[in-house]
Symmetry: C2
């Protein structure tokens, strides 16, 4: 019999994460900020990008691969752009700083694009795309993924990551429209989950080195993820890698470190965030009413046989957020076990 | 026996198009600009978006559905953003103006995003993404497509277009990287081409109203295009439609006019273009050397069995451009027939 999955509150989870970071030498203010973002990822249902990643982050910090006391530097600073050096700090801290700077600039000029280098994994893309929503702005975020799982179209060398993109657009009475997607058919986390559950993958997720469909997730290391739309998804992964990596002086292609396999080498992760001020184009109230109209048109449109509901991107995220705010964030037993071990190692209270 | 396809020079083709527009009352300066862009589309190999579209544009002008003497108005103007009202002019004129304005602003601030409403079909997306390359800038262009062919994921009402996106990134010794893609697996033009050639479509391009694969292109009106990556491509089409349409006060969703079926109603087409100044992030020469490195890494990487070459987005475009600059632009006999008829109707010299 499986144990019932216990839940924790957002606040409790955030406090636990903050204590873990503080125990590794991170200043309390930064630890609190990073913890809030990571716990928020769990609240939104981004389970593969929240506290699940904490043991790995701590392992990297302990191995000397991540800096807990970074000093961010503005390498380039124009009226509507900036390039931040994250000094090998946690990606959450670098990119929330970048998003704040982008909003500040966009407030004055209509738009800002802020890139970062020498950063690290920052959790789910939606976190940073959604930040500009606070100020009636549209957010866009792109990252170079933290491990390469995708060859160029027709190739067999994994030179590209699943390089994700996220967009967030506010609505009036409905949840914001939030699209947070990898440029591959399946994110690598979904392959890992299938392996853990002993499930077979559908054809179209991966191919092997001969180009044949790979459906056994335990053989994932023998193949590659497939990009969405074939050469189109390859093109998107390439462009996003250049814009978030090369343009920022961050790692891309053969320079990308597999952060699952290597805890010590600086990853030099690159990302960028765009804040676009709705006021520069339209009255925000009217614009949001327009998004409600889009929402209604899609939801009320006729469906294919067997389809219960048309969904908008971000609808699931909003539902999960509401549910977990009320009933708590589920922590499956295997994850709790890992977090208990971590707590003992760090000599902090368990979750 | 099929006739050999005759070719024309870029200059000759552009002159023909300009004369056609002038014969419809367009001022010579605008006619020349529009003609240069349309002929350039053919030069780049975007055959479905060049002179092929001329008869349809002229038909719309003659029917009163497009304004040949538009006065563009700046509806909104911030330091790094603008919103242009195209006064129902040809999209090529509106969006080349928008791209020029974006470059001018980006030169000062690092980035600019310029949107447009009351515009029309503008040809291939790559044209406007590539314009900023002239000034060592990266270009991005998005449009609301000129007819809806895509339902929301799980739906049957075509509320979305194939809303394309294009990116252009300069390199040093290699061609620029140019990705110009629809958010559907196949663009609608490819379906039309398959029907003309009597070919069957592969599964995955379209489904019928019951959700079954549709492979007979002559039955295209009974089904819908499929988005890349399923719900992901739907999400992208939705977001691009909102950013290029709703945000600009342009048509999106049920308000989109099918410009193939309706020549008289104002389309209120929306697009936007972004110019991103490389100098705001890096030394352009070093950046372009970095893109050459990306190019080399991809090209030299090992290939799947049966694959001759790894290609980069924009490589085919560059090859076609070189070849056609040298040998001319092929005009297939059926297209020439249509253009000859058009020339007679407009009382201008044939191509």
């Amino acid at each position: 019999m499986t144990q019932p999955t216990e839940t924790v509150s957002l606040q409790h989870l955030s406090q636990f994460i903050a204590q873990a970071f503080v125990a590794c030498g991170m200043p309390a203010g930064d630890a609190g900020k990073a913890a809030d973002l990571m716990a928020k990822a769990d609240l939104m249902g981004k389970d593969a990008h929240g506290v699940f990643r904490l043991p790995q982050y701590i392992q990297r910090i302990k191995a000397g691969g991540m800096n807990v006391t970074p000093s961010f530097r503005l390498i380039e600073d124009r009226t509507s752009t900036a390039l931040i050096d994250g000094d090998n700090g946690l990606g959450h801290l670098v990119m929330s700083h970048a998003a704040d700077l982008a909003m500040e600039k966009a407030e004055k000029t209509g738009i800002a694009w802020v890139g970062a280098r020498h950063s690290n994994h920052a959790g789910p893309a939606a976190l940073y795309a959604m930040k500009p929503l606070e100020r009636d702005m549209i957010g866009i975020y792109v990252a170079v993924g933290s491990a390469n799982h995708l060859p160029p179209w027709g190739g067999t060398e994994m030179l590209l990551s699943t390089n994700p993109i996220a967009f967030a657009i506010p609505s009036g009475t409905n949840p914001p429209i939030v699209l947070d997607m990898a440029t591959t058919v399946a994110a690598y986390g979904k392959v890992k989950t299938a392996a853990q559950r002993g499930e077979t993958m559908p054809e179209g997720w991966m191919i092997d080195k001969l180009g044949n469909p790979l459906t056994d997730p335990t053989r994932a290391s023998e193949g590659f993820l497939l990009p969405i739309g074939g050469p189109k998804g390859y093109g998107l992964a390439l462009i996003f890698g250049i814009l978030a990596g090369t343009l920022n002086g961050a790692a891309f292609g053969r320079d990308v470190i597999d952060f699952n396999a290597d805890d010590t080498t600086t990853t030099n992760t690159g990302h960028f965030v765009i804040a676009l001020d709705i006021k520069a184009f339209a009255d925000p109230t009217l614009f949001k009413a327009g998004i409600d109209k889009v929402w209604d048109e899609m939801k009320s449109s006729p469906r294919l046989p067997g389809v219960d509901e048309i969904r908008l991107p971000g609808e699931g995220l909003a539902k999960t957020t509401r549910a977990r705010r009320q009933s708590g964030i589920p922590i499956p037993a295997p994850l709790r076990g890992k977090l208990d071990t971590l707590a003992r190692d760090l000599n902090i209270a368990t979750l």
